[in-house]
């Protein structure tokens, strides 16, 4: 969140290199503002389903920014994975367990200060990692990254990390099934 708020004026300032950049910057501004607002509503709303829906808007904003940067494969994958699967499962879980309507109960939690602190820390760490590794490298927006290029680099340069992540996900999946099945076993 910090990173986005800081970089917005900076991006708007260097808009003299063509109409395209101006349009992209305006779009970025709108998307970023929407994302910030919905991210705030995710943690501030009292209705847990509304929170999930605001999360959808925030994630859709991420997808929109990816598409704006010409990384459309990543953008659509974002929609497929996060909006189409992760949040659907959130909502599914909510509906099966506590689907009461309206602001019946406060979803406020006593640990919110620690949570806020963690969020700020995470933002700082991630901003630092981003700035440290990329500095002021610019993305070439004019030539969009094709799906072929993405898959080529995943299945050649990054094949070992890719397989490691796949294995990790598989382990997490099996772990989740084991944990979920334990209660009726004994």
């Amino acid at each position: 969140m910090n990173l986005l708020a800081l970089s917005l004026p900076a991006v708007l300032a260097q808009s003299d290199s063509g109409d395209l950049l101006v349009a992209q910057n305006i779009a970025f501004g709108i998307i970023a503002a929407t994302m910030l607002f919905s991210a705030w509503r995710v943690v501030s709303t009292n209705n847990i389903v509304h929170a999930a829906l605001y999360l959808v808007i925030a994630l859709a904003g991420v997808a929109a920014i990816f598409i704006l940067l010409g990384a459309e494969f990543v953008g659509v994958t974002q929609i497929l994975v996060y909006i189409g699967a992760v949040v659907v499962l959130f909502l599914f879980g909510i509906m099966l367990t506590r689907a009461r309507l309206g602001d019946v109960e406060s979803v406020d939690h006593e640990n919110r200060l620690i949570a806020a602190l963690t969020a700020v820390l995470l933002a700082v760490v991630m901003s630092y990692a981003l700035i440290d590794s990329f500095g002021d490298t610019r993305i070439d927006i004019e030539t969009p990254s094709t799906t072929q290029a993405v898959s080529d680099s995943i299945f050649s340069d990054y094949i070992i990390p890719f397989e490691a992540v796949s294995l990790l996900l598989l382990a997490a999946l099996i772990g989740a099934i084991v944990v979920a099945r334990r209660e009726d076993g004994s």
Partner: protein, 398 residues
Amino acid sequence: MSVFAVDPLLAGEVGLEVLAVVLFKVLVVFVLLIVSVMLMIWAERKIISDMQNRIGPTRAGPWGILQTLADGLKLIFKEDLIPDNANRTVFKLAPLLTLVPAFLTFSIIPLGGDFTDKDGVISLFGNDTYLQLADPPIGLLLFLAMSSVAVYGIMLAGWSSGSKYPLLGSVRATSQMISYEAALGLTVAAVFLQSGSFSTHTIVSEQSVWQWNMWFTGFVPMAIFMIAATAELNRPPFDLVEAEQELVGGFHTEYSSIRFALFYLAEFMNTITISAIVVTIFLGGPNGPIFIDAVAWLWPILWFTVKLFALLFTFIWMRATLPRFRYDQLMDLGWKVLTPVALGWLLFLGARDVANDRGWNPVLVVGVAVTAFAVFGALLLRAVRMGKQVRELEEMRG
């Protein structure tokens, strides 16, 4: 801009004229979809009536063809009820969330254009363009994304109604749609493997007059796609979502007036869109022989329409013929049959491509593939059976 530059219309300078052409295409696609939904609803009622020895709608217009229009007008003038318990914002949002993905998916369907000689390019008011609203390089991924976004409409409709039966209906719908998305995605992956592209335009131009992906991918992906699509659409025999004997009306029980009409429209619109997707990826899209050169532009559109009608008829036929599945049968079919078979078939197609590439002995490849299928199929069957036995044992004990 280069993201959209695949269409020759947008390759050059984008001026007012180009914008007008694009707007025209948007209008045409919109009207086309609405009108075909109208006709589809009428055709479904008529054909099912015929199959059940009834007459069906006859009053509005010749052969009752305006029945949908009459129903739509009636629904618009009805009172728009919102239950006291409902979550108002979400209740109003849900019908739109089902309708919008249906429209968006239709924008990537190539409706016509001569793909044998001219690469699907047609001339519209002096501008070269494709006869499809958009041809994003991500093409079919958009379809997959939209079909997973479409879950939201049904899910939220059931939840926001604030009543028992809609909630049960939407829980059923969500789990059903998530389950069948796996099989759907895997069969679409088989098409990606065959065509080497996500773009619907490229997928169509990779096929030709009779050489369709249906043959190249060995028919199995198309069969699985059709079954999974029926489940995604919540159409009979997979309409547990609105099983009226069990759930009153399912997720849209509390909806009335125009909001109900929107759900109804979206359901049929999705049927048309998915049939169009099947035509595009498996049946060669608008590809077909061109007989009279004077009206050459007409033939691809005609072929597309004929293929589309054949598929829509199949969907209606299935609805009239097959009894509804039980819920556990539905889940078993999705997870224990369709998904493994789709995955295995994808591996087989991949092996075939590698074998072609390397020049391996085809007989040997097929032999190994069949053996592997048999072994893994037997293992899977055994695992399923053992799981069942364990469950029965547990039930007997506790």
